[in-house]
């Protein structure tokens, strides 16, 4: 049975009609056409579907719609107002990726890490980035350049 879910997505108020248990991921992709958030596993173990819910990185694939009513969701499409987020610019500068399928989820996680470190007036170490990306999988082996790019983004 469909229900109406009111929430904010990338700064805009939205009403989404779908069953209560529908994962946020599929509501974003299906109902709103925001395909930048990607399906990887459906159980929150690969990180490809990471978005922000009230600013906190969250696996959208196992977050039911009822739990995000009234909340503020940010996807990779809405991460930056004008121009790319510093993490995205750094990933492009470092050509940090191969297939790129994992990257939008990594961008959301890393942007939160970098924003938080910069708010504290400090930069991230490689080990902090490794630990921060613990829940994200990359199969192509682009890890090294992804880590270096995120550290660089935190230093700028």
């Amino acid at each position: 049975m469909d229900s109406v879910h009111a929430l904010t997505v990338n700064g805009a108020d939205r009403e989404i009609h779908c069953p209560e248990g529908t994962p946020l991921l599929w509501a974003l992709r299906d109902a709103l056409g925001l395909t930048g958030t990607r399906f990887g596993c459906g159980v929150g173990s690969c990180g490809a579907c990471t978005v922000w819910v009230d600013g906190i990185p969250t696996h959208s694939c196992d977050t039911p719609m009822w739990s995000v009513a009234g909340k503020d969701v940010t996807t990779v499409e809405g991460l930056a107002d004008a121009g790319p987020h510093p993490v995205q610019s750094a990933l492009i500068d470092h050509q940090a990726g191969q297939c790129g399928y994992c990257l939008s989820g990594i961008v959301m996680r890393a942007a939160a890490l970098v924003d938080s470190a910069r708010a504290d007036g400090r930069s991230l170490t490689e080990d902090e980035v490794r630990a921060g990306l613990d829940g994200h999988l990359c199969r192509c082996g682009a890890h090294g350049r992804i880590i270096r790019a995120i550290v660089a983004a935190s230093e700028n």
Partner: protein, 692 residues
């Protein structure tokens, strides 16, 4: 630098098949090789841009498409640079010479070509001005072409696809949305060999938003108006389905006995004598390995009155078209396959199976494009797997330690069951359909194409007479097919482990021992470069060790040496990799480094962690929890040195580091704690087992 006999050019000689000059001042370049995340599109643009002397932003690369592009077989074997870049260099330089001649007819001698403009003494003309004068419907000559001035080749050009992926823009087939599209799912049986007895299809078919329920033999599928509805309908069909038939009894712990005991076809790769009195004889094994892409397989298809169109992240649009046509009983001319990028591809993954799922479902809802996304569990449970392998090696030495005879026996399934290469269609659902046939046993590519089980089976060293026999098992415990580097990962691991043990037996330094047996100057150069970069010989703390691995991929491809440093306390931890590679003339140094590093990290993951597990006909390692791969915390620093050889032919780099990395880690473990693990993966349990 297209050598005579470039297979892509032989199959597709017409110039207009490769490139055309468009009304908007651009050049459309067509390739048959798929962008898989390896960066081939950008490399091809660099080559064409230089060959035509046009700026790269004028060059648009069209994805492989059976209706318009060249048939280049599969995107496989680290051959895309050799084949597609070679063919495009020949095609583009021939086009340039035709246009240059046309320009000279009109404006006299041409002194230069600047971003597509032929500069004469008094006036200039562009490729686009000259289009009426030049017929591109001509054959590209097969002879070698004049050297083109390098401008972009040899430099780092940012990937044309990567920014979109980082910015979250639609780029993948998974993201494709078109008017009127529907979403489909095929429900896989609970175990191999299960027959569909009964399902409450009518109840699901009546649900709102469900467009069709498909029952065809043991194929069960559904098409619905949205992804969410398709998922839910599939869950209900799965819940009500009853299956029959006895599951297979073999489990993953019995694979070695199975592969060495079952009927096999033996191919002699080298016919030396048996090794009479080996100094060392040992067996090496690896389990089945999963592709385990981060994005599950995906496809879209629409059945229109004028034919079936399929969008797929396949490695070969033409071979896939042949098998879809065979399976559906249609003419190939009535099927079109277009490539769209998917998540990373490391061999024959379920892209083709998903394409057939979409085709089968689309036929039931004519006119509606049907988009299919596999589940994570199906991706890990029903894909073709990289074959398990059993390798027996024996070697003899003289009193100085010099190797005097060598033998290799490889047991396992063939390394390819790709579409159109088998007697019947190699598409998962076809095997379960009414009137379909089970997928035949996988085959090995011929030795001239680099072999499969026997890939890199013959050492690149001087080891005296070599005996090498590949025993291809004629039954598959699990569906087997191509995984990055085919047999080379395991063969190089086995050969280099064996060599290392022989070096130790003769108290020789493993690096010096290799150089003693290696004449090939480019092989020696990568070993020496890697050793220098790793500071080979530097003392290491207790419980740390260093190891080396080396091979020339396929014996005809890139040379690669890897040095690994490991720490073994509670678990084995790789502290760093130092790699040197020579893949001839380099198109993109950063592209080569990225491929070599990515290959090394993926090989570390296979070698240290991965094993497909199955029992009672079902794969139990079908989640990331049950099939863990290397994590961000476990990935070591990797140092890649690329040796550029601007005067040598370019070679692919995607698979060269797989074998040497596996070997280097195994050898480093021996250096650290004196334990030789011969059965992959090298887990803490395997180390304990090897000590007993």
């Amino acid at each position: 630098m297209a050598p005579p006999g470039n297979p892509s050019l032989l199959t597709n000689p017409r110039l207009a098949r490769w490139l055309t000059f468009e009304d908007d001042g651009g050049v459309v370049v067509r390739t048959g090789k798929s962008e898989l995340g390896q960066g081939i599109d950008t490399a091809l643009i660099q080559v064409v841009s230089d060959a035509l002397a046009v700026s790269p932003d004028r060059v648009r690369l069209a994805a492989p498409d059976t209706s318009a592009g060249p048939d280049e077989g599969f995107t496989a074997g680290s051959l895309s640079v050799q084949q597609s870049a070679g063919a495009l260099l020949a095609a583009a330089s021939h086009a340039r010479s035709l246009f240059a001649a046309a320009a000279e007819d009109r404006i006299g001698p041409v002194s230069d070509v600047v971003d597509g403009t032929f500069v004469g003494a008094a006036s200039s003309l562009t490729y686009w001005d000259l289009r009426p004068d030049v017929d591109l419907d001509v054959d590209v000559p097969l002879e070698a072409h004049a050297h083109v001035r390098d401008s972009l080749v040899g430099t780092n050009v940012p990937r044309v696809d990567l920014a979109d992926k980082i910015l979250g823009r639609p780029r993948f087939l998974q993201d494709m949305r078109v008017a009127g599209m529907a979403f489909g799912r095929v429900i896989r049986p609970p175990y191999r060999g299960a027959r569909l007895e009964d399902v409450d299809a009518a109840a699901v078919a009546r649900e709102a938003g469900v467009l069709a329920v498909v029952e065809d033999g043991s194929v069960l599928g559904v098409v619905a108006e949205s992804e969410i509805l398709a998922r839910e309908a599939a869950d209900r069909l799965r819940a009500s389905a009853r299956w029959s038939g006895e599951p297979p009894t073999l489990d993953d712990s019995q694979v070695v006995a199975f592969l060495t005991g079952v009927d096999a076809e033996t191919t002699v790769l080298a016919d030396g004598p048996a090794v009479a009195a080996p100094a060392l004889a040992a067996r090496y094994t690896r389990p089945f390995l999963a592709h385990a892409s981060i994005g599950p397989a995906c496809a879209m298809a629409v059945d229109r009155p004028d034919g079936l169109v399929v969008w797929s992240h396949t490695q070969g649009v033409f071979p896939l078209r042949r098998d879809i046509a065979r399976a559906l009983g249609r003419d190939e001319a009535d099927v079109e396959v277009r490539h769209v990028e998917g998540a990373g591809c490391y061999g024959h993954n379920p892209a083709d199976d998903a394409a057939y799922d979409a085709a089968l479902l689309a036929v039931r809802v004519p006119g509606r494009p049907v988009h299919v996304t596999w589940t994570r569990e199906d991706e890990m449970g029903w894909a073709p797997f990289g074959p398990a392998m059993v390798i027996d090696i024996a070697a003899a030495t003289d009193t100085t330690g010099r190797i005097t005879a060598w033998s290799w026996d490889g047991y396992g399934n063939g390394h390819s069951s790709r579409p159109s290469t088998l007697p019947t269609p190699s598409l998962l659902a076809y095997g379960a359909q009414s009137g379909g046939t089970a997928i035949p046993p996988s085959q090995d590519p011929p030795q001239t194409a680099g072999a499969g089980t026997g890939r890199n089976a013959i050492p690149g060293y001087d080891v005296g007479p070599v005996r090498a026999r590949a025993h291809r098992a004629l039954e598959m415990p699990m569906r087997a097919s191509a995984l990055r580097s085919l047999g080379a990962h395991m063969n190089v691991f086995a050969i280099e482990s064996h060599l290392d043990d022989l070096a130790r037996m003769h108290a020789a330094d493993p690096l010096e021992y290799r150089l003693r047996h290696l004449d090939d100057p480019r092989g020696r150069a990568v070993l020496e470069r890697a050793a220098q970069s790793a500071d080979w010989g530097r003392a290491l703390p207790d419980s740390r060790g260093r190891g080396v691995g080396y091979a020339r991929y396929k014996g005809t491809g890139a040379w690669c040496a890897v040095i690994a440093e490991v720490e073994a306390v509670d678990a084995i931890r790789v502290m760093g990799l130092w790699i040197a590679v020579d893949c001839g003339r380099v198109i993109s140094p950063d592209g080569v480094a990225n491929q070599i590093e990515g290959g090394a990290i993926q090989s570390l993951s296979w070698t240290l962690k991965e094993r497909v597990r199955f029992a009672d006909g079902a794969v139990t390692s079908n989640t990331w929890e049950e099939y863990p791969i290397l994590t961000f915390a476990e990935v070591p620093p990797v140092h890649v040195s690329v040796i550029d050889r601007p005067d040598r032919p370019w070679l692919g780099a995607g698979e060269a580091s797989m074998g040497p990395t596996a070997a280097a880690v195994g050898n480093a473990l021996v250096d650290a704690i004196g334990v030789r693990v011969r059965d992959l993966p090298i887990t803490p349990e395997a180390i304990v087992a090897a000590m007993e």
